[in-house]
Amino acid sequence: MFKRFLASREAILLGAVLILLALVAIRFPAFIAPANLANVFNDTSPLIILALGQMIVILTKCIDLSIAANLALCGMVVAILNVAHPDLPVIVTLVVATGLGTILGAINGLLVWKLTIPPIVVTLGTMTIYRGTIFLISNGKWVNSHEMSAPFKAFSRQILLGLPVLSWIALAVVATFAVLLTRTTLGRAFYAVGGNPHAAVYAGLNVGRTQFLAFAIAGALAGLTGYLWVSRYAVAYVDIAGGFELDVIAACVIGGIAISGGIGSVGGLVLGALFLGVIKNALPVVNISPFWQLAISGAAIVIAVAFNARSSRTKGRIILKSAEVAA
């Protein structure tokens, strides 16, 4: 059992994260203080939540490039809503953000399901449409911290049992997904649809509908994160989370989610996101020239993926040979 764990992707990733932490600690010991690690986790929370959404989309052999634009649009909508109605309770904001995110995700899903357009094309289009919509509704103007109400900004940073609400939401989403993907029919359907679509059809699964649900759930998470993001950074403008979809996909790939669908675990994904989060947070403190930082984080991604690819290479099973032995 323990031996099997050691050889697993999760163990390798965990090792990589620990080695990374150790390396950073040599140059900057205060980085591994528990309070700072909690900070790093909190900072990585939006990435973890979005990457979980992206993960189920990728599991079904699709990809969602519009996830960061969805986040930005939902964030802007709730920010504008908050300026117009400062007394709106936070719970309403949460519902609006998540609801709108679900609708935006469902649009992607419907286009993929009903019109069978390749997901990369659909979401490339909606990504631009969603960003453009932000421009339309905001007139290109920023919503700034002094225009937002205090509870709106306080929600994500409220400390609950030692951790900010943002971190707790990430933990809750992780727990939900762990159950969803291993213990429910829908969760297993995501794997089945991506692993072998033809077999899934024979097994009675509706491939398109499952992909639609994956997009809708990913959209809901993007919407939720949209509010959390705007609340945390206390500013909303057209370009928030610009390029973040690539970070999200990188977290998935590092976490061992096969881009061809059907393979991946919640544990691996969380470690993949944390790996990226540690790099992002460590680079500013280890005093490396900013001109090197991009190359270093890129190299770290490639190395992590290379390790992953080696460990996950499934050896072909020789059916006849084992049949011979049996005989």
Binding site: H146, F244, N281, P290
Partner: protein, 329 residues
């Protein structure tokens, strides 16, 4: 009297009347902006009106296209030429595209200057920059130093490593550092004009340099993110976030005390100065390199070899005036 003679006389008389009427009329100065409905330019118009009131015999025509295109500005300028304005002061959407139409205007005796966003040298008599690289570099250090009587460490949080403007300002800032004894520039970091990366870089600065007294961010995304990071870390009063920002965006930071003061060019002064320059050049001020042209209460503009001049130091905003400006731009 033949018909021809009659017509000629009428034309001559009319021309004489129009001519003399024009002399009695006010000088018409057109303020052409990038697009209507932008707070920054509305504020510049206020300054232009202020200059007009001071001069007495000036009418301001505030105009521009509805979106920020060079085509739109060309149409606007054509109609201004048809209206027979005396001077055009333009903030151009494209430095080259508007040159031909502005040359046409100058051929008709219209004074043409550019301000804020310049026009290529052939298309205007002079250009007014809101400030200069050296003035900005000095200002951002001074903003930090003013609130550090005992000296100490400061750090710069910039946009990307390749941002031309920011890099020039930072170089200028480094050059003036010796004038501020006790102020030590600990680091220059780059937030790529992304709020999340800027926030993280600001956090990094705070943990790498526990004695840091000020974070200077010469970019609007960076200064806001740094302000939020300092606020979240509970270091208001300990670390002063300053740099370049817009009053409408910075109001919250100034209110909370995370930012003592910050700077940006004052659009009101800019509109005022542009109007004064257009008026003086129309009345015969020379626009050769090295000449000085008065800008009313702001002082004199000195033209360089390219016919450009810098207005002044960026204007400083703090608790005392943020309320007034936050609704303007």
């Amino acid at each position: 009297m033949s018909v021809l003679k009659k017509i000629l006389t009428t034309v001559a008389v009319t021309a004489a009347m129009v001519g003399s009427a024009a002399h009695a009329e006010n000088i018409k100065i057109a303020l052409v902006v990038k697009a209507l409905g932008i707070g920054f330019f509305e504020a510049a118009n206020k300054g232009a009106e202020e200059a007009a009131a001071e001069l007495g015999n000036v009418d301001i025509i505030y105009t521009g296209p509805t979106d920020t295109t060079a085509e739109g500005q060309i149409e606007v300028i054509n109609s201004l030429i048809a209206q027979g304005v005396d001077a055009i002061a333009i903030s151009a959407n494209d430095p080259d595209a508007v040159v031909p139409v502005l040359q046409k205007a100058m051929e008709r005796g219209i004074t043409v200057i550019s301000w804020d966003s310049g026009v290529a040298q052939d298309g205007r008599q002079m250009h007014l920059n809101p400030s200069s690289t050296d003035l900005i570099g000095n200002t951002i250090i001074k903003l930090a130093a003013d609130h550090m009587p005992d000296g100490g460490q400061v750090a710069i949080l910039s946009a990307t490593t390749t941002s031309t403007n920011q890099n020039a300002w930072i170089d200028a800032a480094k050059a003036v550092l010796p004038n501020y004894p006790g102020i030590e520039l600990a680091a220059v970091v780059y937030g790529d004009d992304l709020s999340d990366k800027s926030y993280r870089e600001a956090q990094g600065l705070m943990s790498s340099y526990p004695d840091l007294k000020a974070i200077i961010a010469p970019t609007t995304v960076g200064i806001l993110a740094a302000c939020q990071a300092v606020t979240d870390a509970g270091k208001i009063g300990q670390i002063n976030v300053t740099g370049l920002g817009l009053p409408s965006e910075m109001a919250g930071c100034v209110e909370s005390g995370a930012t003592e003061s910050f700077a940006i060019w004052n659009p009101i002064d800019l509109g005022y100065a542009a109007t004064m320059l257009a008026y003086n050049i129309h009345n015969g001020a020379a626009t050769t390199p090295g000449s000085e042209i008065p800008m009313g209460r702001i002082g004199n503009a000195t033209l360089d070899d390219t016919g450009s001049a810098a207005m002044s130091d960026p204007f400083t905003y703090d608790k005392s005036n943020i309320e007034q400006f936050k609704s303007i731009f």
